[in-house]
Amino acid sequence: MALADYKYKDVIHRCFRCGYCKFPSNWMEVNNCPAYARFRLESYSTGGRLWLIRAWLNDEIEWTDHLAQIVYSCAACKNCVEQCPYRFHDDIVDMIIAARSEMVERGSIPSVVKEFLENIQRQGNPYGNARSKRGEWVEGMGIKQYEGQEYLYYVGCVGSYDTRAKETARTLGEVLLKAGVSFGVMGNDENCDGNEVSKLGEESLFQSLAEDNIQQFKDLGVEKIVALSPHSYNAIKNDYPMFNGSFEVFHYTQLLRDLIKGGRLDISSGFDARVTYHDPCFLGRWNKEYEAPRQVLNAIPGVELVEMERSREGALCCGGGGGNFYTDFLGGSEDSPARIRIREACATGASIVATACPNCMTMLEDAVKAEGLEESIKVKDISEIVAEACLAKRAD
């Protein structure tokens, strides 16, 4: 593709390098772009990356591994979209994704990204784990296969296969059972939602995944979907309609909030802790849902909710988006965004950092270990906090 064929050719040159894309909404730090935080080089900020993309499409620079790594280091967190002063600010992450699409078409992508995509093509998950093991997390729980219940509980790849995230999937399942919600899961028939595939620029694979999923959902008569992961929530809610797949999609924190309000969950046992909440990018900036998770936490007796320096639309991304929880372009340093975020969480004095996303969960858990802060702070999913608050009161 020459620059002339690039979808955003009329605007990509207009970035005048103000640098706002690196700042959070409260201007308190300069490292709110996760890739920039990691490398502290202009190439890794959105502005710098766009300049390099333009130079590449214009044949001023050649494709190299390094260029591909820079282009793929963006975690698609949308901090830049939030901060950029230009009229086209809504498109800037899409501009990076369009460049990735060009690399995909040429076949020139980093090896880890190739692995990620090929694993999804073959086994329906980026890890390349056997399809026949996807539904194993349900073992021994009494959760049924989806056969027309009110909700389809859609778990996603990370929740189905990652050791720590599987616990989250199970705990949410327990909570939903306890609340008497009518739901079922797809087990081994569940396939990747494709959100990361789309952010990595493999549009045709994303379309194929979306269309297959939509057909499966329709064949099963699915109308309402509750998603564990904000990534799945984002893809099914915002992207599936363009392939004729319209469903009522909820992120699980929205459902829990409604269940608590409606008195269907007895959380009176409470949870005594100072908790800080980490906004996941695909729930927060991508879908503007900042309140439901906080409403759930605030409803639990004993929870003292404190905010980090950067929260809501200014939250620092954990660095797990855009496939980075697997490709790990932003890892390996104390400047890795997840580690910065954990230090920020500790600074609030909280003993718990609450997550609402299995990707954030795995990134932050690893960061706690890398920082050696296991004694100071624990990472808990909101579903796990709610589950503890539902436990029958012990006789003292």
Partner: protein, 260 residues
């Protein structure tokens, strides 16, 4: 510059260690639960062929002996940049290398070729024989385990990989046959869209009869009698020393066993 690449399809067993079991015949694994993919070595072979074509012009033809499911790898080859593909419609699963070699030779002998390229071995049976056999049957020189190659007037210069990182350098007169070692290049990613687009390219299916061969007349020289899984043993080794020493010893054990 005309290149013929022979490829095969294998079951993907990389993440399915505990799903692998011997099938009812006792001479193959149960493939129902397994996904299929192109043989790893063949992917490198294809990439090398396509890169040569892109540099020097010419054609790349992908060839395989297999049942209809094997069209997948041919489409993949076309998507990577091969110009045409040929499948000899026979289930190669129960054939010995000699039989497959005879069939491939019967096809290749009618194609224009400067280079015939094979993967060094296959992921499933790993015999590593096919390329050498076809070279002998075609009566052309060959080199195996090629890790780099360079074309010149009427000849190809190759490096062969030996133990311990040593390399042998050879010059072969064309036409020649090469078997390719992994790591020679970085195979390109094949997008879903490009596989769909590859349907526009020619994929020819031919039968043994059309080659003047018959399955009955192709007597195998090697017969596989039995396939067994390695028995899982219980072996525990206690490593002693300080934390650093034990970590070091463990790292060496893991490295030597090929785990890391």
């Amino acid at each position: 510059m005309d290149i013929v690449v022979a490829i095969k399809q294998v079951p993907d067993t990389s993440e399915a260690v505990d799903v692998v079991e011997i099938d009812a015949s006792g001479r193959d694994i149960n493939k129902e639960a397994l996904v299929s993919k192109i043989n790893d070595w063949d992917e490198y072979a294809l990439e090398e062929a396509v890169q040569l074509k892109q540099k020097l012009g010419g054609t790349v033809t992908a060839v395989t002996v297999g049942a209809s499911e094997w069209d997948d790898i041919l489409r993949r080859a076309l998507a990577m940049g091969a110009d045409r593909a040929i499948r000899i419609d026979e289930d190669a699963a129960s054939m010995d290398s000699n039989t497959v070699a005879k069939i491939l030779t019967a096809v290749i002998i009618h194609l224009p070729y400067d280079l015939v390229i094979f993967g060094a071995q296959s992921e499933d049976f790993g015999s590593g024989q096919l390329g050498c056999m076809v070279a002998e049957m075609l009566d052309i020189p060959h080199a195996t385990l090629v890790v780099s190659l360079q074309m010149d007037e009427g000849e190809v210069r190759v490096s062969r990989e030996l133990e311990g990182g040593a390399l042998e350098l050879y010059t072969l007169k064309l036409p020649a046959l090469l078997t390719i070692q992994t790591g020679i290049n970085r195979p390109r990613y094949v997008s879903f869209a490009s596989i769909k687009k590859a349907r526009e390219k020619e994929l020819k299916v031919i039968s043994l009869n059309e080659l003047g061969l018959s399955r009955d007349a192709l007597t195998p020289l090697v017969i596989l009698e039995k396939l067994e899984l390695t028995p899982t043993g219980k072996k525990a080794e206690l490593i002693s020393g300080s934390a650093e020493e034990t970590a070091g010893k463990l790292a060496m054990i893991l490295n030597d066993s090929g785990v890391i």
